[in-house]
Protein backbone atom coordinates (compact mmCIF):
# COMPACT_ATOMS: atom_id res chain seq x y z
CA UNK A 1 0.00 0.00 0.00
CA UNK A 2 1.52 3.30 -0.94
CA UNK A 3 1.22 6.41 1.12
CA UNK A 4 -1.53 7.82 -1.04
CA UNK A 5 -3.80 4.90 -0.31
CA UNK A 6 -2.95 5.01 3.36
CA UNK A 7 -3.66 8.73 3.58
CA UNK A 8 -6.93 8.30 1.78
CA UNK A 9 -7.96 5.65 4.27
CA UNK A 10 -6.79 7.80 7.13
CA UNK A 11 -8.88 10.69 5.90
CA UNK A 12 -11.91 8.44 5.72
CA UNK A 13 -11.21 7.18 9.22
CA UNK A 14 -10.92 10.51 10.88
CA UNK A 15 -14.00 11.70 9.06
CA UNK A 16 -15.10 15.17 9.92
CA UNK A 17 -11.99 15.82 11.97
CA UNK A 18 -9.65 15.55 9.04
CA UNK A 19 -11.83 17.78 6.95
CA UNK A 20 -11.34 20.54 9.46
CA UNK A 21 -7.96 22.15 9.20
CA UNK A 22 -7.13 24.13 12.34
CA UNK A 23 -9.20 27.28 12.45
CA UNK A 24 -6.16 29.35 13.35
CA UNK A 25 -5.00 30.18 9.90
CA UNK A 26 -1.39 30.10 8.96
CA UNK A 27 -1.46 33.84 8.74
CA UNK A 28 -3.21 36.12 11.18
CA UNK A 29 -2.85 39.78 11.98
CA UNK A 30 0.62 40.70 10.83
CA UNK A 31 2.06 37.21 10.98
CA UNK A 32 2.60 35.03 7.94
CA UNK A 33 4.13 31.61 8.21
CA UNK A 34 7.89 31.67 7.49
CA UNK A 35 8.84 29.40 4.61
CA UNK A 36 11.86 27.34 3.64
CA UNK A 37 13.50 27.98 0.24
CA UNK A 38 11.30 25.31 -1.33
CA UNK A 39 8.19 27.21 -0.25
CA UNK A 40 7.03 25.01 2.63
CA UNK A 41 6.08 26.29 6.09
CA UNK A 42 9.20 26.34 8.24
CA UNK A 43 8.77 24.04 11.24
CA UNK A 44 12.38 24.26 12.34
CA UNK A 45 13.57 25.14 15.79
CA UNK A 46 13.45 23.84 19.32
CA UNK A 47 10.00 23.09 20.73
CA UNK A 48 8.53 21.80 23.96
CA UNK A 49 5.32 19.86 24.48
CA UNK A 50 5.21 20.30 28.25
CA UNK A 51 1.67 21.11 29.32
CA UNK A 52 -0.57 21.07 32.37
CA UNK A 53 -3.38 19.50 30.41
CA UNK A 54 -3.55 15.74 31.00
CA UNK A 55 -3.98 13.21 28.21
CA UNK A 56 -7.44 12.20 29.41
CA UNK A 57 -10.12 14.51 30.75
CA UNK A 58 -10.28 14.18 34.54
CA UNK A 59 -13.56 12.78 35.84
CA UNK A 60 -14.20 15.98 37.78
CA UNK A 61 -14.55 17.98 34.54
CA UNK A 62 -16.45 15.38 32.52
CA UNK A 63 -18.39 16.87 29.68
CA UNK A 64 -16.29 20.00 29.71
CA UNK A 65 -13.84 20.11 26.84
CA UNK A 66 -12.56 23.62 27.43
CA UNK A 67 -12.04 26.07 30.26
CA UNK A 68 -12.87 29.73 30.27
CA UNK A 69 -9.86 31.96 30.80
CA UNK A 70 -10.91 32.49 34.42
CA UNK A 71 -11.23 28.75 35.07
CA UNK A 72 -7.91 28.06 33.40
CA UNK A 73 -6.28 30.74 35.51
CA UNK A 74 -7.45 28.99 38.69
CA UNK A 75 -5.97 25.71 37.50
CA UNK A 76 -2.69 27.26 36.44
CA UNK A 77 -2.37 29.20 39.66
CA UNK A 78 -2.92 26.02 41.66
CA UNK A 79 -0.09 24.38 39.76
CA UNK A 80 2.16 27.35 40.38
CA UNK A 81 1.29 27.41 44.08
CA UNK A 82 1.98 23.69 44.36
CA UNK A 83 5.35 24.08 42.71
CA UNK A 84 6.22 26.84 45.15
CA UNK A 85 5.00 24.66 48.02
CA UNK A 86 7.21 21.72 47.05
CA UNK A 87 10.15 23.82 45.90
CA UNK A 88 13.20 23.03 47.99
CA UNK A 89 11.56 20.11 49.78
CA UNK A 90 12.82 16.57 49.66
CA UNK A 91 9.26 15.21 49.72
CA UNK A 92 6.45 15.87 47.28
CA UNK A 93 3.47 13.98 45.87
CA UNK A 94 5.55 12.58 43.04
CA UNK A 95 8.15 11.13 45.36
CA UNK A 96 5.32 9.69 47.43
CA UNK A 97 3.42 8.37 44.43
CA UNK A 98 6.46 6.40 43.36
CA UNK A 99 5.62 4.03 46.18
CA UNK A 100 9.18 4.67 47.16
CA UNK A 101 8.49 3.95 50.78
CA UNK A 102 10.35 7.09 51.56
CA UNK A 103 13.56 6.43 49.69
CA UNK A 104 13.01 9.64 47.81
CA UNK A 105 12.52 10.39 44.18
CA UNK A 106 12.27 13.34 41.86
CA UNK A 107 12.27 16.68 43.60
CA UNK A 108 9.89 19.33 42.31
CA UNK A 109 12.83 20.92 40.50
CA UNK A 110 12.85 18.07 38.00
CA UNK A 111 9.18 18.24 37.11
CA UNK A 112 8.64 19.94 33.78
CA UNK A 113 4.95 20.15 33.01
CA UNK A 114 5.02 23.74 31.89
CA UNK A 115 3.00 26.57 33.36
CA UNK A 116 -0.06 26.51 31.13
CA UNK A 117 -2.87 24.30 30.00
CA UNK A 118 -2.86 23.40 26.32
CA UNK A 119 -4.25 26.30 24.35
CA UNK A 120 -5.67 25.74 20.88
CA UNK A 121 -7.37 28.50 18.91
CA UNK A 122 -7.01 30.69 21.97
CA UNK A 123 -8.99 28.33 24.21
CA UNK A 124 -7.61 26.16 27.00
CA UNK A 125 -8.36 22.47 26.86
CA UNK A 126 -9.14 19.99 29.62
CA UNK A 127 -7.65 17.00 27.82
CA UNK A 128 -5.18 16.32 25.03
CA UNK A 129 -7.61 13.80 23.58
CA UNK A 130 -10.22 15.51 21.44
CA UNK A 131 -11.80 12.45 19.92
CA UNK A 132 -13.67 10.56 21.34
CA UNK A 133 -15.50 13.72 22.50
CA UNK A 134 -15.43 12.53 26.11
CA UNK A 135 -11.67 13.10 26.06
CA UNK A 136 -10.85 9.55 27.10
CA UNK A 137 -8.95 6.72 25.46
CA UNK A 138 -11.51 4.45 23.74
CA UNK A 139 -12.31 1.05 25.24
CA UNK A 140 -9.54 -1.51 24.98
CA UNK A 141 -10.16 -4.85 23.29
CA UNK A 142 -10.01 -8.11 25.26
CA UNK A 143 -6.94 -9.18 23.35
CA UNK A 144 -5.18 -5.98 24.32
CA UNK A 145 -6.24 -6.31 27.96
CA UNK A 146 -4.53 -9.67 28.16
CA UNK A 147 -1.43 -8.18 26.58
CA UNK A 148 -1.45 -5.25 29.01
CA UNK A 149 -1.98 -7.51 32.01
CA UNK A 150 1.11 -9.42 30.98
CA UNK A 151 3.06 -6.19 30.96
CA UNK A 152 1.80 -5.01 34.34
CA UNK A 153 2.72 -8.29 35.98
CA UNK A 154 6.15 -7.90 34.60
CA UNK A 155 6.52 -4.37 35.99
CA UNK A 156 6.93 -5.73 39.51
CA UNK A 157 9.24 -8.55 38.50
CA UNK A 158 12.96 -8.32 38.76
CA UNK A 159 14.01 -11.72 37.45
CA UNK A 160 15.94 -10.23 34.60
CA UNK A 161 16.55 -6.95 32.81
CA UNK A 162 13.88 -7.95 30.28
CA UNK A 163 11.23 -7.68 33.02
CA UNK A 164 11.89 -4.02 33.62
CA UNK A 165 10.04 -1.10 31.94
CA UNK A 166 11.45 0.13 28.63
CA UNK A 167 12.43 3.45 30.17
CA UNK A 168 14.38 1.79 32.94
CA UNK A 169 16.20 -0.26 30.32
CA UNK A 170 17.00 2.93 28.37
CA UNK A 171 15.36 1.49 25.25
CA UNK A 172 12.80 4.28 25.05
CA UNK A 173 11.89 6.99 27.51
CA UNK A 174 9.30 6.55 30.27
CA UNK A 175 6.08 7.20 28.38
CA UNK A 176 5.81 8.24 24.76
CA UNK A 177 8.38 11.00 24.17
CA UNK A 178 9.20 9.75 20.68
CA UNK A 179 6.17 7.61 20.07
CA UNK A 180 4.77 8.37 17.74
CA UNK A 181 2.49 9.79 19.02
CA UNK A 182 4.75 12.24 20.83
CA UNK A 183 3.49 13.00 24.33
CA UNK A 184 4.98 14.94 27.23
CA UNK A 185 6.56 13.08 30.12
CA UNK A 186 7.94 14.11 33.48
CA UNK A 187 10.81 16.24 32.14
CA UNK A 188 13.12 16.95 29.20
CA UNK A 189 10.11 17.51 26.97
CA UNK A 190 12.22 19.01 24.23
CA UNK A 191 12.29 18.47 20.48
CA UNK A 192 14.27 19.92 17.60
CA UNK A 193 13.08 19.90 13.99
CA UNK A 194 15.41 20.15 11.00
CA UNK A 195 13.70 20.33 7.62
CA UNK A 196 14.90 19.72 4.06
CA UNK A 197 12.75 19.01 1.00
CA UNK A 198 13.57 15.29 1.09
CA UNK A 199 13.60 14.65 4.83
CA UNK A 200 12.35 16.11 8.04
CA UNK A 201 14.10 14.97 11.19
CA UNK A 202 12.66 15.37 14.67
CA UNK A 203 15.24 15.04 17.42
CA UNK A 204 13.62 13.86 20.62
CA UNK A 205 15.81 14.81 23.59
CA UNK A 206 14.91 11.77 25.65
CA UNK A 207 16.39 9.33 24.60
CA UNK A 208 18.40 11.02 21.80
CA UNK A 209 16.04 9.65 19.16
CA UNK A 210 16.17 11.02 15.63
CA UNK A 211 12.80 10.42 13.98
CA UNK A 212 13.55 10.59 10.28
CA UNK A 213 10.49 11.36 8.13
CA UNK A 214 11.12 10.53 4.47
CA UNK A 215 9.14 12.92 2.35
CA UNK A 216 6.96 11.62 -0.47
CA UNK A 217 8.33 8.11 0.02
CA UNK A 218 6.71 4.73 0.35
CA UNK A 219 6.69 2.63 3.50
CA UNK A 220 9.26 -0.04 4.22
CA UNK A 221 8.10 -3.60 3.54
CA UNK A 222 5.87 -5.12 6.23
CA UNK A 223 8.66 -7.49 7.22
CA UNK A 224 10.62 -4.49 8.53
CA UNK A 225 9.60 -3.64 12.10
CA UNK A 226 11.09 -0.80 14.11
CA UNK A 227 10.58 0.57 17.62
CA UNK A 228 9.48 3.93 16.27
CA UNK A 229 7.97 2.48 13.12
CA UNK A 230 8.66 3.79 9.66
CA UNK A 231 7.61 7.39 8.98
CA UNK A 232 6.83 8.94 5.62
CA UNK A 233 5.57 12.45 5.08
CA UNK A 234 3.90 14.77 2.62
CA UNK A 235 2.44 18.25 2.64
CA UNK A 236 -1.29 18.92 2.49
CA UNK A 237 -1.37 22.62 1.89
CA UNK A 238 0.51 24.09 4.81
CA UNK A 239 0.17 21.02 7.02
CA UNK A 240 2.85 18.37 7.28
CA UNK A 241 1.26 14.93 7.42
CA UNK A 242 3.41 12.11 8.81
CA UNK A 243 2.23 8.53 8.43
CA UNK A 244 3.86 5.86 10.57
CA UNK A 245 3.47 2.10 10.37
CA UNK A 246 5.83 -0.93 10.74
CA UNK A 247 5.92 -0.90 14.53
CA UNK A 248 7.25 -3.84 16.51
CA UNK A 249 5.06 -5.48 19.12
CA UNK A 250 7.41 -4.13 21.79
CA UNK A 251 6.56 -0.43 21.59
CA UNK A 252 3.58 -0.91 23.89
CA UNK A 253 2.03 2.52 23.45
CA UNK A 254 -0.94 2.08 25.76
CA UNK A 255 -0.70 -1.63 25.07
CA UNK A 256 -0.77 -1.19 21.30
CA UNK A 257 0.25 -3.97 18.95
CA UNK A 258 2.47 -4.04 15.89
CA UNK A 259 -0.57 -3.02 13.86
CA UNK A 260 -0.39 0.47 15.32
CA UNK A 261 -0.87 3.13 12.66
CA UNK A 262 -0.23 6.74 13.60
CA UNK A 263 -0.98 9.82 11.50
CA UNK A 264 0.45 13.09 12.74
CA UNK A 265 -0.30 16.57 11.46
CA UNK A 266 1.96 19.53 12.10
CA UNK A 267 0.76 23.07 11.37
CA UNK A 268 2.67 26.22 12.25
CA UNK A 269 -0.06 28.47 13.61
CA UNK A 270 1.99 31.35 14.91
CA UNK A 271 5.54 32.44 15.57
CA UNK A 272 5.80 30.35 18.73
CA UNK A 273 3.42 27.46 18.08
CA UNK A 274 3.10 24.30 16.06
CA UNK A 275 -0.31 22.72 16.37
CA UNK A 276 0.10 18.95 16.67
CA UNK A 277 -2.78 16.68 15.88
CA UNK A 278 -2.35 12.91 15.86
CA UNK A 279 -4.71 10.04 15.13
CA UNK A 280 -4.04 6.65 16.67
CA UNK A 281 -5.42 3.58 14.98
CA UNK A 282 -5.00 -0.03 16.09
CA UNK A 283 -8.18 -2.08 15.85
CA UNK A 284 -6.56 -5.00 17.68
CA UNK A 285 -6.15 -2.72 20.71
CA UNK A 286 -8.59 0.22 20.62
CA UNK A 287 -12.29 -0.11 19.87
CA UNK A 288 -12.02 2.90 17.60
CA UNK A 289 -9.33 5.26 16.42
CA UNK A 290 -8.76 8.30 18.57
CA UNK A 291 -7.26 11.77 18.16
CA UNK A 292 -5.02 13.92 20.29
CA UNK A 293 -4.42 17.61 19.65
CA UNK A 294 -2.23 20.10 21.49
CA UNK A 295 0.47 22.70 20.81
CA UNK A 296 4.22 22.42 20.69
CA UNK A 297 5.60 25.73 21.90
CA UNK A 298 8.91 27.35 20.95
CA UNK A 299 11.50 27.09 23.68
CA UNK A 300 15.03 28.25 24.12
CA UNK A 301 17.44 25.45 23.29
CA UNK A 302 19.71 23.76 23.12
CA UNK A 303 18.85 20.11 23.28
CA UNK A 304 21.33 18.39 25.57
CA UNK A 305 22.61 14.86 25.08
CA UNK A 306 20.58 12.22 26.88
CA UNK A 307 22.78 9.18 26.64
CA UNK A 308 20.95 6.93 29.19
CA UNK A 309 22.25 3.37 28.55
CA UNK A 310 25.83 4.56 29.00
CA UNK A 311 25.10 5.77 32.53
CA UNK A 312 22.53 3.24 33.62
CA UNK A 313 24.16 2.29 36.92
CA UNK A 314 20.74 1.94 38.41
CA UNK A 315 19.95 -1.23 36.46
CA UNK A 316 22.61 -3.33 38.13
CA UNK A 317 21.59 -1.84 41.48
CA UNK A 318 17.95 -2.72 40.93
CA UNK A 319 18.58 -6.29 39.80
CA UNK A 320 21.36 -6.80 42.33
CA UNK A 321 19.05 -5.58 45.07
CA UNK A 322 16.43 -8.11 44.08
CA UNK A 323 18.98 -10.92 44.09
CA UNK A 324 20.23 -9.90 47.51
CA UNK A 325 16.72 -9.76 48.89
CA UNK A 326 16.06 -13.26 47.54
CA UNK A 327 19.28 -14.59 49.03
CA UNK A 328 18.42 -13.14 52.43
CA UNK A 329 14.94 -14.63 52.25
CA UNK A 330 16.36 -18.05 51.52
CA UNK A 331 18.68 -17.92 54.50
CA UNK A 332 15.69 -17.56 56.82
Amino acid sequence: MNYRTISALALAFTGFLAAQTPTAKTSSKNWTVPRTPDGKPDLQGVWTNATLTPLERPAAVNGKATFTDAEAAVWEKKSKDDEAKYDGKADNPIADSLGSGGTGGYNALFVDHGTELARVDGVKRTSLIIDPPDGKVPPITQEAKARNAQMMRSMSRFDSVKDRPLGERCLTSFGSSSGPPMLPVLYNNNYEIVQTPENIVILVEMVHDARIVRMNATHAPTSVRQWFGDSIGHWEGDTLVVDTTNFTDKTRFRGASENLHVIERFTRVDAKTILYRVTIDDSSTFAKSWTIEYPFVATKGPIYEYACHEGNYAMSDILGGARKAEAEKEKK
Binding site: P37, C170, E192, T196, H208, A307, A322
Partner: protein, 256 residues
Protein backbone atom coordinates in the same frame (compact mmCIF):
# COMPACT_ATOMS: atom_id res chain seq x y z
CA UNK B 1 42.15 25.10 -2.07
CA UNK B 2 42.00 22.13 0.28
CA UNK B 3 40.09 20.13 -2.30
CA UNK B 4 42.74 20.70 -4.94
CA UNK B 5 45.54 19.83 -2.50
CA UNK B 6 43.71 16.66 -1.56
CA UNK B 7 43.08 15.80 -5.16
CA UNK B 8 46.71 16.42 -6.03
CA UNK B 9 47.87 14.02 -3.34
CA UNK B 10 45.32 11.32 -4.06
CA UNK B 11 46.16 9.53 -7.27
CA UNK B 12 43.34 8.29 -9.45
CA UNK B 13 40.87 11.07 -8.76
CA UNK B 14 39.90 13.78 -11.20
CA UNK B 15 42.51 16.49 -11.51
CA UNK B 16 39.97 19.31 -11.43
CA UNK B 17 38.55 20.88 -8.30
CA UNK B 18 34.94 19.77 -7.90
CA UNK B 19 32.34 22.48 -7.39
CA UNK B 20 29.35 20.82 -5.79
CA UNK B 21 25.79 21.98 -6.38
CA UNK B 22 24.58 24.19 -3.55
CA UNK B 23 22.17 23.17 -0.81
CA UNK B 24 19.37 25.22 0.76
CA UNK B 25 21.91 27.27 2.72
CA UNK B 26 23.91 28.30 -0.34
CA UNK B 27 26.81 26.02 0.59
CA UNK B 28 27.86 22.72 -1.07
CA UNK B 29 25.01 20.30 -0.59
CA UNK B 30 26.04 17.52 1.81
CA UNK B 31 22.50 16.16 2.22
CA UNK B 32 22.49 12.42 1.82
CA UNK B 33 23.42 9.07 3.28
CA UNK B 34 27.14 8.44 3.60
CA UNK B 35 29.40 5.60 4.67
CA UNK B 36 33.08 4.85 5.02
CA UNK B 37 34.45 1.88 3.09
CA UNK B 38 37.49 0.93 5.12
CA UNK B 39 38.53 -0.86 8.28
CA UNK B 40 39.22 2.21 10.36
CA UNK B 41 36.72 1.05 12.98
CA UNK B 42 38.70 -2.16 13.43
CA UNK B 43 42.01 -0.30 13.67
CA UNK B 44 43.02 3.18 12.58
CA UNK B 45 46.52 2.07 11.57
CA UNK B 46 47.67 -0.53 9.03
CA UNK B 47 47.15 -4.01 10.40
CA UNK B 48 47.00 -7.56 9.13
CA UNK B 49 44.10 -9.93 9.66
CA UNK B 50 43.50 -11.06 13.24
CA UNK B 51 41.41 -13.84 14.75
CA UNK B 52 38.15 -12.89 16.39
CA UNK B 53 37.60 -12.94 20.13
CA UNK B 54 34.58 -15.21 20.06
CA UNK B 55 35.33 -18.74 18.89
CA UNK B 56 31.71 -19.57 18.08
CA UNK B 57 31.49 -16.63 15.68
CA UNK B 58 34.20 -18.01 13.42
CA UNK B 59 34.99 -15.66 10.57
CA UNK B 60 32.28 -13.22 11.54
CA UNK B 61 34.19 -11.61 14.36
CA UNK B 62 37.64 -11.89 12.82
CA UNK B 63 39.43 -8.69 11.90
CA UNK B 64 39.85 -8.75 8.10
CA UNK B 65 43.02 -6.63 8.10
CA UNK B 66 43.22 -3.21 6.53
CA UNK B 67 45.01 -0.14 5.37
CA UNK B 68 45.46 2.61 7.91
CA UNK B 69 43.96 6.08 7.71
CA UNK B 70 46.48 7.88 9.93
CA UNK B 71 48.66 10.48 8.25
CA UNK B 72 52.24 9.46 8.96
CA UNK B 73 51.17 5.90 9.74
CA UNK B 74 51.36 5.94 13.54
CA UNK B 75 49.42 7.51 16.37
CA UNK B 76 51.79 9.67 18.47
CA UNK B 77 51.03 8.36 21.96
CA UNK B 78 52.77 9.67 25.04
CA UNK B 79 54.71 6.78 26.61
CA UNK B 80 52.31 6.19 29.53
CA UNK B 81 49.31 6.42 27.20
CA UNK B 82 50.85 3.86 24.86
CA UNK B 83 50.95 1.40 27.73
CA UNK B 84 47.25 2.06 28.35
CA UNK B 85 46.49 1.52 24.67
CA UNK B 86 48.22 -1.84 24.77
CA UNK B 87 46.25 -2.85 27.86
CA UNK B 88 43.05 -1.71 26.12
CA UNK B 89 43.88 -3.86 23.14
CA UNK B 90 44.54 -6.94 25.25
CA UNK B 91 41.26 -6.46 27.13
CA UNK B 92 39.17 -5.14 24.26
CA UNK B 93 36.53 -7.83 24.57
CA UNK B 94 35.67 -6.47 28.01
CA UNK B 95 36.43 -2.82 27.39
CA UNK B 96 35.45 -1.77 23.86
CA UNK B 97 32.46 0.53 24.26
CA UNK B 98 31.17 -0.53 20.83
CA UNK B 99 30.65 -4.06 22.12
CA UNK B 100 28.43 -2.64 24.85
CA UNK B 101 26.44 -0.51 22.40
CA UNK B 102 27.74 2.71 23.90
CA UNK B 103 27.66 5.88 21.84
CA UNK B 104 30.72 5.95 19.57
CA UNK B 105 31.91 9.52 19.90
CA UNK B 106 33.67 11.51 17.19
CA UNK B 107 35.38 10.74 14.85
CA UNK B 108 34.63 7.02 15.29
CA UNK B 109 30.93 7.44 14.45
CA UNK B 110 31.89 8.50 10.92
CA UNK B 111 33.86 5.38 10.06
CA UNK B 112 31.81 2.66 11.69
CA UNK B 113 30.70 0.09 9.12
CA UNK B 114 27.15 1.54 9.03
CA UNK B 115 25.64 4.48 7.16
CA UNK B 116 24.92 7.92 8.54
CA UNK B 117 22.82 10.75 7.20
CA UNK B 118 23.49 14.47 6.91
CA UNK B 119 20.55 16.88 7.00
CA UNK B 120 21.48 20.35 5.78
CA UNK B 121 18.70 22.92 5.66
CA UNK B 122 18.80 26.65 5.09
CA UNK B 123 19.55 27.23 8.78
CA UNK B 124 20.47 23.98 10.47
CA UNK B 125 22.84 21.06 10.24
CA UNK B 126 22.21 17.65 11.76
CA UNK B 127 23.86 14.22 11.60
CA UNK B 128 22.00 10.98 12.36
CA UNK B 129 23.86 7.66 12.61
CA UNK B 130 22.37 4.21 12.06
CA UNK B 131 24.54 2.76 14.86
CA UNK B 132 22.60 3.05 18.09
CA UNK B 133 20.67 6.04 16.75
CA UNK B 134 23.58 8.31 17.63
CA UNK B 135 22.94 11.96 16.82
CA UNK B 136 24.97 15.13 16.39
CA UNK B 137 23.31 18.48 16.35
CA UNK B 138 25.82 20.86 14.76
CA UNK B 139 25.67 24.36 16.23
CA UNK B 140 26.14 27.02 13.56
CA UNK B 141 26.69 29.63 16.22
CA UNK B 142 29.23 28.90 18.95
CA UNK B 143 27.34 28.46 22.24
CA UNK B 144 30.51 28.71 24.33
CA UNK B 145 32.17 25.91 26.31
CA UNK B 146 30.10 22.76 26.73
CA UNK B 147 28.46 22.85 30.18
CA UNK B 148 28.83 19.10 30.58
CA UNK B 149 30.72 16.31 28.85
CA UNK B 150 28.87 14.21 26.34
CA UNK B 151 29.62 11.03 24.41
CA UNK B 152 29.14 12.68 21.04
CA UNK B 153 30.77 15.95 22.07
CA UNK B 154 29.64 19.47 21.27
CA UNK B 155 29.95 20.28 17.55
CA UNK B 156 30.26 23.79 16.17
CA UNK B 157 30.23 24.07 12.38
CA UNK B 158 31.26 26.74 9.88
CA UNK B 159 32.11 26.90 6.21
CA UNK B 160 35.55 27.67 4.84
CA UNK B 161 34.92 28.05 1.14
CA UNK B 162 33.53 24.70 0.04
CA UNK B 163 34.65 22.84 3.15
CA UNK B 164 32.50 22.27 6.19
CA UNK B 165 34.67 22.58 9.28
CA UNK B 166 33.33 21.18 12.53
CA UNK B 167 35.07 21.85 15.83
CA UNK B 168 34.23 19.28 18.50
CA UNK B 169 34.92 19.58 22.23
CA UNK B 170 33.30 18.61 25.53
CA UNK B 171 33.91 14.88 25.17
CA UNK B 172 33.21 12.18 27.71
CA UNK B 173 36.50 10.30 28.07
CA UNK B 174 34.93 6.88 27.76
CA UNK B 175 34.68 6.60 23.97
CA UNK B 176 37.33 4.79 21.96
CA UNK B 177 38.65 5.74 18.54
CA UNK B 178 38.47 2.18 17.19
CA UNK B 179 38.16 -1.47 18.30
CA UNK B 180 41.91 -1.76 18.81
CA UNK B 181 41.89 0.21 22.05
CA UNK B 182 42.88 3.62 20.72
CA UNK B 183 41.54 6.07 23.26
CA UNK B 184 41.57 9.64 24.54
CA UNK B 185 40.88 11.75 27.63
CA UNK B 186 38.27 14.42 28.35
CA UNK B 187 40.71 16.92 26.86
CA UNK B 188 40.02 15.57 23.38
CA UNK B 189 39.59 18.19 20.69
CA UNK B 190 38.65 17.16 17.15
CA UNK B 191 38.49 19.38 14.06
CA UNK B 192 36.77 17.80 11.09
CA UNK B 193 36.79 18.84 7.44
CA UNK B 194 34.16 17.66 4.99
CA UNK B 195 34.66 18.45 1.28
CA UNK B 196 32.76 17.07 -1.67
CA UNK B 197 35.27 15.90 -4.27
CA UNK B 198 32.72 14.42 -6.65
CA UNK B 199 28.96 13.95 -6.80
CA UNK B 200 29.19 10.73 -4.79
CA UNK B 201 32.39 11.12 -2.80
CA UNK B 202 33.34 13.31 0.10
CA UNK B 203 36.78 13.79 1.54
CA UNK B 204 36.79 13.50 5.34
CA UNK B 205 39.66 14.63 7.50
CA UNK B 206 39.87 14.84 11.26
CA UNK B 207 42.64 16.41 13.31
CA UNK B 208 42.83 14.84 16.76
CA UNK B 209 44.40 16.64 19.65
CA UNK B 210 44.67 15.55 23.28
CA UNK B 211 47.69 16.72 25.27
CA UNK B 212 46.98 14.19 28.04
CA UNK B 213 47.32 11.26 25.65
CA UNK B 214 49.19 12.28 22.48
CA UNK B 215 52.51 14.08 22.11
CA UNK B 216 51.15 16.19 19.23
CA UNK B 217 48.00 16.58 17.11
CA UNK B 218 47.56 13.97 14.40
CA UNK B 219 45.29 13.50 11.39
CA UNK B 220 43.15 10.84 9.84
CA UNK B 221 41.84 11.05 6.30
CA UNK B 222 39.44 8.94 4.24
CA UNK B 223 36.81 9.15 1.53
CA UNK B 224 33.15 8.85 2.50
CA UNK B 225 30.85 7.42 -0.14
CA UNK B 226 27.27 8.34 -0.90
CA UNK B 227 24.58 5.67 -0.91
CA UNK B 228 23.18 6.04 -4.41
CA UNK B 229 20.69 3.18 -4.50
CA UNK B 230 17.07 4.16 -4.89
CA UNK B 231 15.20 4.11 -1.60
CA UNK B 232 18.37 4.28 0.49
CA UNK B 233 17.49 5.00 4.10
CA UNK B 234 18.88 4.51 7.59
CA UNK B 235 17.57 1.49 9.44
CA UNK B 236 16.91 1.51 13.15
CA UNK B 237 19.81 -0.20 14.95
CA UNK B 238 18.90 0.03 18.63
CA UNK B 239 21.59 -2.30 19.86
CA UNK B 240 20.99 -1.62 23.56
CA UNK B 241 18.47 -4.44 23.56
CA UNK B 242 21.05 -6.82 22.10
CA UNK B 243 23.63 -6.24 24.82
CA UNK B 244 21.37 -6.46 27.87
CA UNK B 245 22.25 -10.06 28.59
CA UNK B 246 25.91 -9.22 28.22
CA UNK B 247 25.73 -6.34 30.69
CA UNK B 248 23.13 -7.62 33.13
CA UNK B 249 23.06 -11.37 32.62
CA UNK B 250 24.98 -11.95 35.85
CA UNK B 251 22.23 -10.14 37.76
CA UNK B 252 19.44 -12.33 36.46
CA UNK B 253 17.68 -14.77 38.71
CA UNK B 254 19.26 -18.16 38.43
CA UNK B 255 16.90 -21.10 38.01
CA UNK B 256 17.16 -23.53 40.93
Amino acid sequence: MLASLLVASTPGLAQQVYHAPKGPDGHPNLNGIWQALNTADWDLVDHSARPGLVVADGTLSADPGGIGVVEGGEIPYLPAALATKKKNFENRLKLDPEIRCYLPGVPRANYMPYPFQIFQSAKALFFAYQYDGAVRNIFLKDPGPAPADSWMGQSVGKWEGETLVIDVTGFDERTWLDRAGDFHSDALHVVERYTLIGPEVMSYEATIEDPKVFSKPWKIRMPLYRHVEKGARLMEFKCVEFVEDLLYGDFARKPK
